[in-house]
Symmetry: C3
Subunit: 467 residues, 3 copies
């Protein structure tokens, strides 16, 4: 079977030396840096027996591992299966979706352990890591997975690795500014992960604009089973989002509350997404693109406020609104962004992460500003917002202002960072494919014979064997 | 490509205004009711710091969140991925299986939080929720997912929402009668979830009987890959069932024991299912329908007794029997139910949930009746059956009698409720499809071009682009 | 549609009486043995209330259930979904991959509970089980799943059950020798699970060598969607491997440390796998076989040492090396093994489990030999290696020697056991398929009509209905 679409391939997409070089150099660098800097934190170190006595702990169950490991594993599934499979909806880019997501996330978590470690876990010249660092590394990489959604199908694996390198770095700087300088709360990452990641990715894809992308338009759609594979990703993201938003909250009531708020928000979001998906189609049929994506907006939109006293009904309101905004975005904004602003957003991250992330930041600012000692209790109030030490005198309304400032900082970092990184990725050395080969696994992957020809020709003894 | 099968479509299946209206009105109602009634329970509220001191707890790890959250997440996966993907076995109804299950469960858990809350968590005019409420809401919705299995492919999404509304209500009433009035034990829901849910669904599908359903018979089967998608659902249900049966058991040994009993029962069930699947086919070949479904009967059948001292060998016996009963049911009972009793049971829930649920109720009654202080220990005996307060004097044999009464009540509620709800669903206003369009996603979903035509026509530049 | 390939079928593959007989006899034997021997351990027994007082425990959270159950569930997913779906890459053997893996694992865990119970949990004539026994049973069966990978597609379900019976037995003996006689550490099973399981399987497949297997070569490859199904298995194995290696480690820091080491090793492994996959192909394209398998070698290779003070950078080094070894193995060793040594290794377990397992054993021996009180702390040192009682005087270098001896013992057990079991499986009574029918579900499964013919003929009313 001739594949005439490959004859026009002019760009050199051969990864044979470039990809191995980048991966191996990187891994060597990681080994050296880990060797110099990274050690086990006290709760993972064999000296824990002595540590326990010093901290007056009577049981191993007090180890942070038991507070956070189940949530960590859920987050881990969201990053690798959730994001990976969510992006398999394209009919001929399933390998790239799952495989490149796997590559960039495995690459990114190592760098994130270092970058975030230097900022947050650096003691006596060493980065001391524990389960919370693993969660934070996964979170950081989550923002790269989001950005990947915008450029899915149009970039080489090397471009993705270069983007990961820079984005993890910028993420960590932005996170440090928000959490440590502005003293902002953002346990589920509405600002640090979603707003930053999405606008970063949108800026990158704007800079990488391809005017002739309609040449691969026939491959930008889904097929029946690719839509089902994508639903695996959707559901794991949806189900485990309560773990995502509660994973690094304070022990006890804060983790508990975050999970409940997120559960409520996501449930409401499904209903409004279904409603608007049906309403905005002439024949009232549901669109899988909306179900796969907009149903998740409710998790994004309570990312900042879930650990606060948002209340279950507050969560329902936020989830309902975000489902509507996201679905409307898919129908009206995405085509507009592409045609007018030249932002080609493959997965529609503007609808799933950018707008709901902004909502999440704003809801967080309002919820913080509205906090009272009456609602939180005297001790709970101080604990919830860490109003201790130099922040002893901060009031809720001031906290709300800082939360709002966090949104602005995240946006600025995303735009500036995305523009610079986009420029770097535009260099003609990274091996990206020509427009007619976008959204096609065959460029970077050994792809087996088509299913159909195999079955139809199974009785044909002359057929060349599959690999 | 013409699709002549659609030309005969006479019924109006357009959801454009009906579905959005139902979803949005519903969500507004939920917001109002949550606003009036639902608040965080003490372990999820920011006042927990004070609560801890009052309850004399020394560690945050004593928060119920850490006892139950991992099990909650497993149950959550069972409801959304387990049931959702189990039903994707139909060749052209994968979107409906996963998508409508998603819709009805997200719809149902909100209502379940309220209904169950009014019955069980109502204090000073407020429903106080925590992680156990989330598990119970998922459980309640599980019974709707079971009923969905009977009518899969034959109903409109609005019918499913209407059914969910009523079934959750009836479930909560039945649960209240069993747990609070009869003081029955049923932590894994053999009676409340499986028996009730299955006979409810079977009654509904009986009332919705379609005499001309053979018109869509070609779509009632599976294809190779749809059977593999269904196995994802099967395995997640199978693997996480120990969490299901132990999720709301008492802390400590009861949760531990429930998981072990369920693990044993399920392992045995796989062997007897495989044995009978092979034995009942002329050529001795295994049937995927049995493997996908009957292997799970062992989890259903220990739903009541798993937290009791059923013992591992007792679990093997119960699991073995339920696998046999379920497989035999698929081969002989399902055709009989359809041809003689006009019960069209798409997924065979009679075999997977109804009969094993009855077995589970009976085994639970026997296990309770056989309980002795010797086996449970003096304190363990009282704790296991809550023989305190007004139930201080209840004996095991009396408890066994009440357990048996619980089965009867569940059956009556299911038949009566199913008959009424089935009657409501028969009204010609809900937009269900004509018989020839059953089991076909195209009625309610935007379905992408067929995979085959895409691949074959990929080189054809005149082909209209996919959505 | 005629299927001429079946006309040459000479062997009797009908399972109708043989498979049911084996399954049912087995299950009866299990019920009897469980009835005689298996009881709940103290933490799962209703007497736990009294036990708690005796052990002076103040909280139910001290029950081992809460330390290990989340890890158990992750391991459970790895065995059933991880291994099951990893093997679905073959285009026409998805039912067999998932279904037979399900069967043999459900069969094996029951026997493993007994065998391991007699060796490790036998008290006063009873085997007392708890969550740790469930994990160990899953582990034991994991070694059978590994061996299954070598003979995938070439054996009847009865052969698999017979192999499971013997392999579980030998596994338990080998495990007893290593853990109790040699006093070796191997929490993640580099030696007991991977080295033993893989060389056992390779020996079996060597004995079952089929000289004419090229007759089914057209079915030995993958198709596009079967490769995506396999990635579900890969990712769940990869994500949950930290739980695998930490599941039975000591409470506290050891579990925590194991998870971190494994996380790091796996991340590094992905990068070197991708690098070598691209480098070893002429056009630099990535090969799904490598991504699906070699990315997991990093988990195998720290199986022994993860709970030791391997350190994060040590883990990166081990993970990097194992990814390289494994990928090179797929490209060069597997063809060599088949052509020269007549070892037909369907899934390439030599690359994924055998070589990385050996690396894991060696790294464990070195890490143990290099242990010092300085690194572990005085108490931590004794606790990490159980240098108590009769092992009070054992030094790290002696421990290293015993660890190395453990590798040798595992290899010898695997070769000897594999040879004997392979000989048994060669008997012409088990119903394996002829060479031209290998890798074909149709032999043992009711397979639905081909997807393609269904879709194309959907408008044809004369088409016979699917089952």
């Amino acid at each position: 079977m001739e594949r005439p679409r490959h004859q026009g391939m002019a760009k050199n997409t051969n990864m044979r030396w470039r990809l191995p070089l980048v991966c191996l150099l990187w891994e060597v660098a990681m080994i050296v840096l880990f060797g110099v800097f990274v050690r086990f934190g006290p709760e993972a170190d064999a000296h824990w027996e002595e540590e326990k006595q010093e901290m007056n702990l009577t049981s191993d169950i007090e180890n942070d591992f038991y507070f956070r490991y189940p949530s960590f594993q859920d987050v881990h599934v969201m990053i690798f299966v959730g994001f990976g499979f969510l992006m398999t909806f394209l009919k001929r880019y399933g390998f790239g979706a799952v495989g490149f997501n796997f590559l960039l996330a495995a690459f990114g978590i190592q760098w994130a352990l270092l970058m975030q470690g230097w900022f947050h876990s650096f003691k006596n010249g060493k980065i001391l890591i524990g389960v919370e660092n693993l969660i934070n590394a996964d979170f950081c990489v989550g923002s790269v997975c989001i950005a990947f959604g915008a450029i899915l199908g149009k970039t080489s694996p090397i471009q993705l690795l270069v983007m990961t390198l820079f984005q993890v770095t910028l993420f960590s700087v932005n996170e440090y500014i928000l959490l440590n300088i502005l003293h902002v709360k953002d346990a589920g990452g509405s600002m640090t992960i979603h707003t930053f990641g999405a606008y970063f990715g949108l800026t990158v894809t704007r800079i990488l604009y391809r005017s002739n992308l309609e040449q691969s338009k026939d491959k930008q759609g889904s097929v029946y089973h690719s839509d089902l594979f994508a639903m695996i990703g959707t559901l794991y993201l949806w189900m485990y989002w309560p773990s995502f938003n509660s994973a690094i909250s304070d022990h006890g009531d804060a983790q508990h509350r975050s999970a409940i708020n997120t559960y409520c928000s996501l449930a409401a979001c499904v209903l409004t997404t279904m409603a608007f998906s049906s309403m905005l189609q002439k024949k009232g049929k549901l669109d899988m693109v909306h179900i796969q994506n907009a149903t998740l907006a409710g998790g994004v939109a309570v990312g900042t406020s879930a650990e606060m006293m948002l209340t279950p009904y507050g969560s329902l309101i936020v989830g309902s609104i975000s489902g509507i905004v996201s679905t409307v975005g898919y129908v009206y904004f995405t085509p507009f962004l592409e045609s007018r602003l030249h932002i080609q957003d493959t997965c529609g991250i503007h609808n799933l992460h950018a707008m709901p992330g902004l909502i999440g930041g704003i809801v967080g600012a309002i919820t913080a500003a509205a906090a009272t000692e009456d609602v939180y209790g005297k001790e709970g109030f101080i604990k919830a917002f860490d109003f201790t030490g130099e922040y002893r005198t901060r009031t809720p309304s001031i906290q709300g202002g800082f939360q709002a400032a966090g949104i602005v900082v995240s946006l600025l970092m995303a735009f500036a960072g995305g523009a610079i990184v986009g420029g770097i990725l535009k260099l003609p050395i990274w091996g990206d494919a020509a427009a007619e080969n976008c959204f096609e696994d065959d460029v970077y992957w050994e792809v087996p014979e088509d299913e159909e020809s195999d079955v139809y020709h199974m009785h044909n003894p002359d057929k060349p064997a599959s690999p």
